[in-house]
Symmetry: C2
Subunit: 278 residues, 2 copies
């Protein structure tokens, strides 16, 4: 079993040092609780509601920055081949001088992969350059972990892409701004995660924000969804963690019945293979 | 506003005459209640749990059969340009001699379109030939109505295809065999419908079965989902109707914010356009 933990945190806009401590403390606590995979929110290093592209630039870091190093250090309590794996969002300064809304996969050995958000939400387009690579699927001791960020999840083409690349778990650092929903309903993005899990038979772990930031509130939708599409743990309001012990190898079986198979039953000759180009 | 009604019925396996009466009575009742769009279950003319392909063949009809004519006749109480529109499933005998799991779009003028299920579920593959045409989108006085059948809905490529073809409403005749779900959860297919509605901003109306048939029970998931992805009416257990008055033109606005647009934000250069070939 793989212990998956998704952390709902309240980073401080503009304070790299405070967010490094906040996020690495969350990783340390999860590692102490036996976590194998730890998901942190989108842009947890910087905060989200930038006043300007210039402000974002002052908070942008490269993957070799000490903030991500602090996550790796927090994993060393159980280092080596079985190291916990952290997936967290950061404001990336690319070698090309552009800014990306990125997420890193980090373990005790350091940064394993960086993903740049491909589907930018709303005013993010005024700050970031969209990524143009598919979600990485990182082989770890705890399973094959894919990464995407927030609004990416709302494009079924992208979750399909990750599933077809043999992801066991899709880790989703996110900042879901508060939207209206009927009483008793989950955040709409969680419903989308449930459906994406179910139609692809892949587990999904989403780590959302909490804490009002420059007038913006959040859905506080941090949830772990099983490959059958059910929410097995969720945080609700405030800071906290969703935690579940999952058999991630279950995601590898796409067969539903003797004659039904989620992937083989696609009619790719009618609508393309999805993701043939990345 | 368009009054959408989805009928949860219990057809009788093998009894074309009884099912013609059952389904046309449901249409008449809905028309009397002011329905503009009426969705009936999958294979409502024949029942679902065929003992053999040979049995299915004895129940297969052509679109000009009197059963579909009985739906058209039931619409004539409010005929003419404003005729109600019926979408219902039937076991089709093709001109090629093959059997199809089809759905017809019918109004007072007769059959407007026939769709053949493209994604066959489980043992349906032993009976039917899959269709190879995209969901039709029928222009009606009540909106642009697309049609797909049951398991089709679980392929995001297919709902995307219908949305990209400018559907205002996706009508889904379905027979959802009973599957396990946690207490308090909706049927998983309804969750999938909610997500498909939300990510495409398109309304979806699903008409499911009730009534044990040859040992098979059903999810009884008949639901109407708004373009925002919320269930606005559902039947629950037993025979009944889901009904909602929807502004279907809302489905035409894919813009979420000044800088976010559900369709324009797709990164088709990364994963293909979806449905370029139909």
């Amino acid at each position: 079993m793989t212990r998956v933990v998704a952390c709902q945190l309240a980073p401080v806009i503009g304070d790299l040092a405070a967010n490094a401590e906040l996020s690495s403390a969350a990783v340390r606590a999860a590692v102490d609780d036996g976590a194998d995979v730890i998901v942190l929110p989108e842009l947890v290093t910087s905060g989200y509601v930038f006043a300007s592209p210039e402000e974002a630039r002052t908070l942008a870091i490269r993957p070799d920055h000490g903030v991500l190093g602090s996550w790796a250090a927090a994993c060393t309590a159980r280092g080596g081949a079985q190291s916990p794996v952290v997936i967290g969002g950061f404001c990336e300064l690319g070698d090309d001088g552009l800014l990306y809304n990125s997420a890193a996969v980090v373990d005790a050995s350091g940064v394993r992969a960086v993903y740049r958000k491909a589907h930018l939400w709303d005013r993010e387009k005024l700050v970031f350059t969209p990524g143009s690579a598919a979600p990485p699927v990182v082989e770890t001791a705890h399973g094959r972990i894919a990464v995407m960020v927030c609004y990416d999840l709302e494009f079924p083409e992208w979750t399909r892409t990750a599933a077809l690349a043999d992801a066991d778990l899709i880790a989703v650092p996110t900042n879901w701004p508060l939207v209206a929903r009927p009483d008793g309903e989950r955040a709409p993005e969680v419903v989308i995660a449930m459906a994406a899990a179910r139609v692809n038979h892949v587990a999904i772990a989403c780590a959302d924000r909490t804490g009002t930031e420059r007038g913006v509130d959040w859905n506080e939708g941090t949830s772990i969804v099983s490959a059958d599409g059910w929410v097995v743990s969720a945080v609700g309001a405030g800071t906290g963690v969703a935690q579940a012990d999952l058999d991630l190898t279950a995601s590898r079986d796409k067969r539903l019945t003797e004659h039904a198979h989620l992937m083989d039953d696609r009619r790719t000759e009618l609508y393309g293979a999805v993701a043939p180009t990345v």
